[in-house]
Symmetry: C2
């Protein structure tokens, strides 16, 4: 599907007016950054860059799109001609997926003519605002879960296509599985699942249901044990599957209390290897609160796909430099009240102390790399060709490494300020 | 695109186990309802049903989907065979789009075999949870705006495809326009736009930018006037476009104060018909707070597409009845702690007082229609064929009518209880 109409009306009318004034062809630099980290987050996680590159390659105005624009008089004939031939031929630089970011970090830099670059604003921000918000929430949950695996199961709580991107972002941040099959198909995220209450209710008794599940899926399956009476269900499960029953899932009640009781019961039945999976409105706080409970894995739904209170990342796409009448590229910035912008194309470096702990995010117009720092931007697109594609697994590994670099205060779950300061120079 | 993989892993493994136990062919009834209205909303708005019908027609397991499931051993060979032939052949009943709903309202009822009906759970809930949440937030904003039009411009703040559904839901609830071109293309939602700060910064001066916009888009255009100095920009705008300048947009600062100043300035320049559009993190509370300010239209972004604090509608899909071993359809319900469910297939009626004001939501297993009530469910799918399709405009009109039926307390913006009680019988 072409992504070209996943775009705000005004991007096209601005192109029309700029084609008429001649400014459409001016070279420009746009940057994507966050003025702040919403929700008092201590860091953000870059996610969606891989999807940005896909969208860029599918950003074409075909006959269907052009007919819509013509029939609805969105733009004039010269603009339709321009759009018909549209291919992004500029350059993209950006932070790698999985990298952490802070207020002002230039996570994506777009260089091209005004007409070429402004058209991408909406779809780029849509992707990054969604995916970064989910990945950031996921990263907090992964940290709260310690060594216990997390299963993403929030598809039903968000838009059906957003769910696929959410599963991808969660995996990038360290989730182990998703319930979403499309995320498995498109992105290779491992998929997993248990059973629903409907499956138990469908059968004549809970024992019939458990037997059916074990017959078909093996003793290593996960039985949902809270449809009627938990203790009775656990007893029936171990009786039917034997002590090698894979896991039981708890989806209601005081999870810590129930988990303790179930662990005791399982152990007393000889099923000491049977794991306990808990679900039911978990977020990073609930996960942390269960750290002392005998829980082996967490399933997270609503709070993951809604960014745990922060469903969008507050990223903006701002013109920071453009060619003037003499052909010189000049920094520009608006002066709107309360919305600070800094002109000029930026470079970004993470400065580390000798132990490898992040100290500052240095954002500089000069471009000089300071000592003891790591450059944060890489080339993603050169002359319209994607050169920065990478595997999701690589991004997942990078996230684990870069989040480990952050100072301890980055992992406080309470609201606060960014874990390291951003220094502009 | 097939929607079949927009599905949780466990739906398919439950089908596998039920095919093996023989229960897959049992006739079942599933209902979609909300246990509560999250965020202390006074009512919910049904949205997404039209998209549910589309998804149902595109829910097919083709070669690509089956290969993924086979290669990843998600299900066994008999289940793959079943999925290859999958067509929903059952019936759907539900509330019409635009209708209001309350806790327990059975907004969608799915009747079919277990295997046919359970597979639809994920995609149906994804669509309805997203679209209902957005439509509900939008309805509050429309009410807060009174007779002033609202423009939806949140695409960049949500997943790129979710943005299209959000624009559709906002229009259904009474928004006048969207910035999202795909929503215009797919659903006929009127599109609109203004200009961004980047357009002003692109040019050598604000006057050059305004002149370019007026030359291309006409004097009826909307000029963004807060890039540098608002008063200077308004003066330049009227000077260049004349007193028939369409509108100015304010996107920063204390909007009420700035709107008063700009209105005074416009009037003094003879541009008394030039409208004032305000944007910048508006939600229903900010819109209400601007009711005394000289504002002509509101642009709403982030808070619309994120459901203004409630990004998902808490709708669930529950088995309420199924065929037993004797072929009799019996009500069923789980007993999980704190998650009340009521067995049996329900009918729903809105009871009205003589003046036409809603009094109660009657949800009844008996199916008898009480006096002075309006039946809320219609047939949407019969034997797998869609019979309940309708135009988005019809849903939009219905919403205006049904929201007008609610008692005054429905329109309090504060958190509270449902505006009318749900009575189960």
């Amino acid at each position: 599907m072409s992504r070209a109409l996943l775009t705000d009306h005004y991007e096209l009318t601005m192109v029309q007016a700029a084609l008429r004034s001649g400014a459409a062809a001016r070279r420009t630099v746009f940057e994507v950054f966050a003025r702040h980290l919403p929700g008092g987050r201590r860091y953000g996680v870059v996610a969606g860059t891989g999807r940005v590159l896909e969208a860029l390659e599918n950003f074409r105005f075909g006959d269907e799109e052009l007919a819509f624009l013509r029939d609805n008089r969105v733009v004039d004939a010269p603009t339709l001609d321009f759009l018909a031939g549209y291919r992004f031929s500029g350059d993209l630089y950006g932070y790698r997926e999985g990298e952490c970011y802070f207020p002002g970090s230039p996570i994506l830099t777009v260089e091209g003519t005004f007409a070429e670059a402004v058209l991408l604003e909406t779809v780029l921000l849509s992707i990054l605002n969604h995916d970064c918000a989910i990945a950031t929430a996921a990263s907090r949950m992964v940290r709260a879960a310690g060594s216990r695996p997390l299963i993403e199961m929030g598809s039903r709580r968000t838009h059906e296509v957003a769910a696929v991107a959410a599963a991808r972002a969660a995996y990038l941040s360290g989730f182990a599985f998703t319930s979403n099959l499309m995320a498995g198909h498109l992105y290779g995220v491992p998929t997993a699942g248990t059973a629903a209450h409907a499956f138990t209710l469908l059968h004549d008794s809970e024992r019939h249901a458990f037997q059916a599940q074990i017959d078909s899926l093996g003793e290593g399956t996960t039985l949902l044990v809270d449809t009627y009476d938990v203790a009775e269900a656990v007893r029936a499960g171990v009786e039917l599957a034997g002590p090698d029953l894979g896991a039981v899932r708890l989806d209601s009640g005081d999870l810590a209390e129930v988990a303790h009781a179930v662990r005791g019961q399982l152990d007393s039945l000889g099923a000491d290897k049977t794991r306990i999976l808990v679900t039911s409105d978990l977020d990073e706080y609930a996960i942390a609160a269960l750290s002392a409970a005998p829980v082996d894995a967490y399933g997270v739904g609503t709070s993951l796909v809604t960014g745990s209170g922060v469903p969008t990342a507050a990223l903006v796409y701002k013109l920071v430099a453009r060619e003037d009448a003499e052909g010189i590229v000049q920094p520009v910035a608006k002066r709107s009240v309360g919305k600070p912008s800094r002109g000029g194309r930026k470079n970004a470096f993470r400065q580390l102390d000798p132990a490898g702990t992040a100290l500052t995010e240095l954002v500089t117009v000069s471009g000089d790399r300071p000592a003891d720092s790591r450059p944060l931007q890489v080339e993603l697109v050169r002359g319209g060709e994607v050169v920065g594609r990478e595997e999701l697994e690589a991004a997942r590994l990078r996230h684990r490494e870069t989040v480990a670099e952050l100072p301890a205060e980055a992992h406080q779950l309470s609201r606060g300020y960014a874990a390291i300061p951003t220094v502009f120079d």
